[in-house]
Symmetry: C2
Subunit: 346 residues, 2 copies
C-alpha cells in the first residue's frame, strides 16, 4: 500500500457476499483490505477476485474476537470505511449453539466498533438481514416495519447489532452507519470465478438446487407445499449477488454525505416461489431438477419480499438483473466449480 | 471451603442488591462465593455481610471480561447455581457510552454463560429489570407484557441478556434460568450495616433524598410535575431491598425444581409518586426535605408498577415490608454511614 491511500476494510471479505462486494468496490475505484477468519471461507476466493479485477487485494486472516489483531490492521492501513460482513450465518446451528453466535457475532462486532472508535474511523456499512423483520405484518416489507421479532439466534444477532450501531450513532453524531437488510442473495459473478461455496449441505435453496444439477445431491427437498401462496411453496425476494454488491458501493457513497444511521432494504420487490426458482433454474440449465415435497420447517414463513423504494430514492441504486440471469450466473459458477473452491468433496 | 460443599456464585456480590442477597442466601443456609470487579462497589460491604451473618464469604476481585479468571473460580469452587448481578447500571452513562455497556454487560454475561457451560453448571438467576418493558402498554405490568421497547443501552443490555439466556435454555433443556425483573429497590438491611452506596451524585430518587437528609446535597430536584398522576410526579413500584433479596432465595429454590427458563416480576404491585416517597421519608426522619420541581427527563414515563401475582403463586414469595420500613431502614443506613463505605466525600 502507498502511504496516503485510504482503504475500505472488508470483514468477512473472503465469503460469498464479501468477495462479490470487493470486486464491485475495486471496480468503483476503492482500495480494499480484507479480513477474514476463514472459518467459513477460503483465501482462494481472494485469488479469484484479483484475477477478475486485475488488482491486488491485501487479505489477512484475523478473527474479530482478537481485538489486538484488529488494532494491528488499523495501525497498518489507513482505513476510511469499514464494511462488516463477518459473522456466523447458519440459522439451524444458531438455534443449537446460541452462545457461539452471540459470542462471535455480537462480541466480534463490539470489538470492531471499539477499535474503530479508538482509531477515529466512524463509517460503517453493516450486513444486516430481512430476518430482523420476523414474520411480516404487511407486504411488501419496508424499513419502517417493526424489527426484533425473529426467533433464532442468528437473526437476533443481526437485530442486536443494528441496535448497538444505532445507539452508537445516537451517542456520537460523528458516526455514520448504513444498515443493509438483505433479502435472498443468489447467483454469482458473470465470470464464473467466484460464487457461493457452502460447507456441507447447503442451508439455502439455490446452492442446493445447483448441487443437485451438478450431481452432488440426488434431489431437492421442498419444505412446505401448503402455504397460502400461488403454488403452496414459500415465496422470497431473490436478489442477484452482483446487484447486492453494487448496493454496498452505493452505501459507501452515502456514508460520505454524513448520513448518520440509516437503513435500507436490498431486494428486488418481487417474490418468487420455490417452484418458480426450480423452473427458472431448469430453463437455464436445460434439464430437470428432481425434487420431493416435505413438511414445513419450524420458523419458516409463507411469503416475504421487500419494498426497495427507499434505497432507489436515497442511494440511487436498484436491481437490474432478472431471474434468468441469477440462474445462468449461478450455473456458470457451479458447473465450472462443482466443488466450489476445493478440488473435490471434503 | 470444604471439599464437597457446593456454592452459590454471586457475581456483583459486593454491590447493593448483591450484598443484600448474599445475606439472605447465607441466612437460608447456602454457601456463597462472591465475584466483583469493584468498579462500582467496595469490599467493605463483604466485611459488613460477614458481621451481619457471622459467616465467612470468600470474595474475589474478578472481571467477567476475563474469561480465564472466571474459569479459575469454577476450578476452585464447586458451583451449583450462579446468581448474576454484575453489570454497569447508569442509564445516562449508557446513552453516552453504549459500546462500554454492550461490551461489559453483554460480553461479560456471554463469557460467564460459556464458562458455566464448560463446567456443566446450568442454573442461573439473572438480575433483569422492569425497564425491559419500555413504556407500559397496560398496568399493572405482568410478565406477558411485550419486552424490548426500552430506549437506552442499559435497558437493552438487560433485554438482550434475557433473550440470550432464553435461547440457551431452548437449545439445551438441562439449563434452568430464573429471570427476575426488578422494579425500584430501595431501603437497606435492618442492621444499618449495608445499603446503597452510589458513586457521585445518585441516579435514583431515594439515595438522593437520603443524601439531602444527611446534609450532602442541598435539595432534591423532582423531574416532571405535570405527569398524568395524582400529584403530577412520576409513579413507581418501590420494593424493599430485603424483600427483593428474599425473592432471589425463592428463585434459587425454583431452579432446583428443573424449571427451564422462567421470568418473574419482583415488585409490590403498589405505585407511589415521588412526592409520596418524599413525604414518607420526611415522616421517618422527622424533618423536611427541601425539593425543587423541574421539567421531565427524556425517556422517563409517568407510571409503572408490577403485577406481582406470578411470583407469589409460583415462587411462594411476596413483599412484606411497607413504605415506612423502606424509609426507616434507608435512614438507619444513611445516618450511620453518611458517606457509605468510604470515610468521607471522595
Amino acid at each position: 500500500m502507498s502511504g496516503d491511500e485510504s482503504y475500505v476494510l472488508v470483514t468477512g471479505g473472503a465469503g460469498y457476499i464479501g468477495s462479490h462486494t470487493v470486486v464491485e468496490l475495486l471496480a468503483a475505484g476503492y482500495s480494499v483490505v480484507v479480513l477474514d477468519n476463514l472459518v467459513n471461507a477460503s483465501m482462494e476466493s481472494m485469488t479469484r477476485v484479483e484475477e477478475i479485477s486485475g488488482k491486488k487485494v491485501p487479505a489477512h486472516q484475523v478473527d474479530l474476537l482478537d481485538k489486538d489483531a484488529i488494532r494491528k490492521i488499523f495501525q497498518t492501513y489507513k482505513v476510511s470505511v469499514v464494511m462488516h460482513f463477518a459473522g456466523l450465518k447458519a440459522v439451524g446451528e444458531s438455534v443449537e449453539l446460541p452462545l457461539l453466535y452471540y459470542h462471535n457475532n455480537v462480541g466480534g462486532t463490539v470489538n470492531l466498533l471499539q477499535v474503530m472508535q479508538e482509531f477515529d474511523v466512524k463509517n460503517i456499512v453493516f450486513s444486516s438481514s430481512a430476518t430482523v423483520y420476523g414474520t411480516p405484518q404487511y407486504l411488501p416489507v419496508d424499513e419502517a416495519h417493526p424489527t426484533g421479532g425473529c426467533t433464532n439466534a442468528y437473526g437476533k444477532t443481526k437485530f442486536f447489532i443494528e441496535e448497538i450501531v444505532r445507539d452508537l450513532c445516537n451517542s456520537d453524531k460523528t458516526w455514520n452507519a448504513v444498515l443493509l437488510r438483505y433479502f435472498n442473495p443468489v447467483g454469482a459473478h458473470k465470470s464464473g470465478k467466484i460464487g457461493e461455496n457452502p460447507q456441507g449441505a447447503p442451508n439455502n435453496l439455490m446452492p442446493y438446487v445447483a448441487q443437485v444439477a451438478v450431481g452432488r445431491r440426488e434431489h431437492l427437498t421442498v419444505y412446505g407445499s401448503d402455504y397460502d401462496t400461488k403454488d403452496g411453496t414459500g415465496v422470497r425476494d431473490y436478489i442477484h449477488i452482483v446487484d447486492l454488491a453494487q448496493g454496498h458501493v452505493a452505501a459507501t457513497k452515502k456514508l460520505q454525505t454524513g448520513c448518520g444511521c440509516v437503513v435500507y432494504n436490498l431486494g428486488t420487490g418481487v417474490g418468487y416461489s420455490v417452484l418458480d426458482m426450480v423452473k427458472a433454474f431448469e430453463k437455464a440449465i436445460g434439464k430437470t431438477i428432481p425434487y420431493k415435497l416435505a413438511g414445513r420447517r419450524p420458523g419458516d414463513i409463507a411469503t416475504v419480499y421487500a419494498n426497495p423504494e427507499k434505497a432507489e430514492k436515497e442511494l440511487g441504486w436498484k436491481c437490474t438483473r432478472n431471474l434468468d440471469e441469477m440462474c445462468e450466473d449461478l450455473w456458470r459458477w457451479q458447473s465450472n466449480n462443482p466443488y466450489g473452491y476445493s478440488k473435490g468433496e471434503s
